[in-house]
């Protein structure tokens, strides 16, 4: 059994406000009552382990993992970073899942009816396990911005969705990674639902010359910090 030893609460100065009127979907879906405090027990401090059975190397290359015929369309990028705990220690062998729109701003999801072309060679889905330093790495294409119906002329900034597990079930994090310099960021209710500017900016990847590969792809660095301490083995 793996378990986290100590766990700070979720840092509510970093996380969004649950009811955020500018994001209309929160109106009927945000809980309204005060969260009930819960002293963490093993039910919270343990969590699922996904081994290499769950993931193979091709899962992390979105430019190849759904190719039927031909090449994925768009600007190839590399997105890499480390999953860390609040002590700055790596979260090893944890599952990272990503999903995103294609370069035209369309998801390979049946409910996305945006009038933009699908790419038959791209589903925009991938997964990876972090290595011994907590590092993950995806090869993908830069997603396009797309319109949504939240308000008049609303556009989501380009983003990649991330789902991360950590060691404890309550370290679970689902978030979105954005791109530096995107003029849509200041207008986006979802990005701005986190009131703290520094916290918001932690959602913006950094362009990385080191990750950039000659003749292949620009590189972006995106570290993810989960609450709590790193895992230590416990007697079971």
């Amino acid at each position: 059994m793996r378990a986290v030893e100590r766990l700070a609460t979720r840092d509510w100065s970093s996380h969004p406000t649950q009811h955020y009127p500018r994001y209309r979907s929160t109106e009927l879906r945000a809980y309204k009552r005060r969260l009930v405090p819960l002293q963490p027990s093993l039910s919270e401090l343990t969590g699922p382990v996904f081994g290499h059975v769950a993931v193979d190397a091709s899962d992390s290359d979105l430019t190849r993992n759904a190719v039927r015929s031909g090449e994925v369309l768009g600007e190839r990028i590399i997105v890499s970073g480390r999953v860390l705990d609040e002590g700055g220690r790596p979260v090893r062998e944890t599952l990272v899942e990503v999903w995103q729109a294609n370069s035209a701003g369309r998801y390979a999801h049946q409910a996305d009816n945006h009038d933009a072309p699908l790419d038959p060679n791209f589903t925009g889905t991938g997964r990876a396990l972090t290595d011994s330093e907590g590092r993950y790495r995806f090869t993908t294409i830069r997603p396009g911005a797309y319109p949504w119906r939240n308000h008049h002329n609303a556009w989501r900034p380009a983003h990649i969705h991330f789902s991360v597990f950590g060691t404890a079930f309550v370290q679970r994090l689902v978030t979105q990674m954005y791109f530096p310099g995107d003029p849509l960021l200041t207008l986006d209710p979802i990005f701005n639902s986190t009131s703290d500017l520094d916290a918001r900016n932690r959602l913006v990847a950094k362009f990385s010359p080191d990750l950039t590969e000659p003749e292949l792809a620009l590189g972006f660095e995106f570290d993810i910090v989960l609450r709590g301490q790193a895992a230590t083995p416990m007697e079971s």
């Binding site: 996380h15 979907s25 963490p40």
Partner: protein, 185 residues
């Protein structure tokens, strides 16, 4: 000390990536937490996810983490994952096939941990599933006892066997008079 990365909503377009209905199925557990080979009492959890006016949430996702039949977390056993994930259907329904968890420690009632995700939820919400046929254990459970009595029922799944399977109904309400108890876990 690096600060926490903020949560963001799962959005509407995740099911093809995260749930077994999607294009990359197979190796990440779906809604079957335990199969026939797993020791313990097989159960089915039939859930619904409802919004503030009682309408179904058709684009949500529910994850469960639970102990095995002896109350042990994370023990590798044939046919038992401990973790499951289900998307909601157009009626807001989700189903888990699992085994009844054992009590994790003396004085604790059997339960499963639950995380709820949806478009419009900027942070996922944590709740728990307890079982209505564990009335004595539930009455002694320290977490249930910490919840005001009028709200405890939102955490208890109702036994209602169907098709010869020990089944439980569990409704998650995101808002309203009967808003589910969500934990600052």
């Amino acid at each position: 000390m690096p600060p926490q990365t903020p949560s963001q909503t799962v959005g509407p377009f995740f099911s093809h990536a995260l749930t077994p209905a999607g294009s990359r199925p197979g190796r990440i557990p779906g809604n079957r937490i335990a199969d026939e080979a797993a020791p313990g009492v097989p159960i089915r959890i039939e859930g619904r996810l409802l919004d503030g006016v009682g309408d179904p949430v058709p684009d949500g996702m529910v994850e469960i983490w639970q102990a095995d039949d002896e109350g042990v977390y994370g023990r590798i056993a044939e046919g038992f994952h401990g973790f499951g994930r289900a998307g909601t259907d157009p009626d807001g329904r989700f189903t888990f096939l699992t085994i009844k968890p054992g009590p994790v420690a003396p004085g604790m009632a059997p339960h499963a941990s639950v995380a709820v995700f949806a478009r419009g939820m900027l942070n996922h919400a944590f709740t728990r599933i307890y079982f209505s046929d564990e009335a004595v254990a539930n009455a002694a459970d320290p977490v249930l006892s910490s919840v005001e009595p009028t709200r405890r029922g939102t955490l208890v799944a109702t036994r209602n066997d169907r098709d010869g399977i020990q089944s439980y109904e569990f409704t998650i309400r995101l808002q309203g008079d009967r808003e589910s108890v969500f934990f600052d876990a």
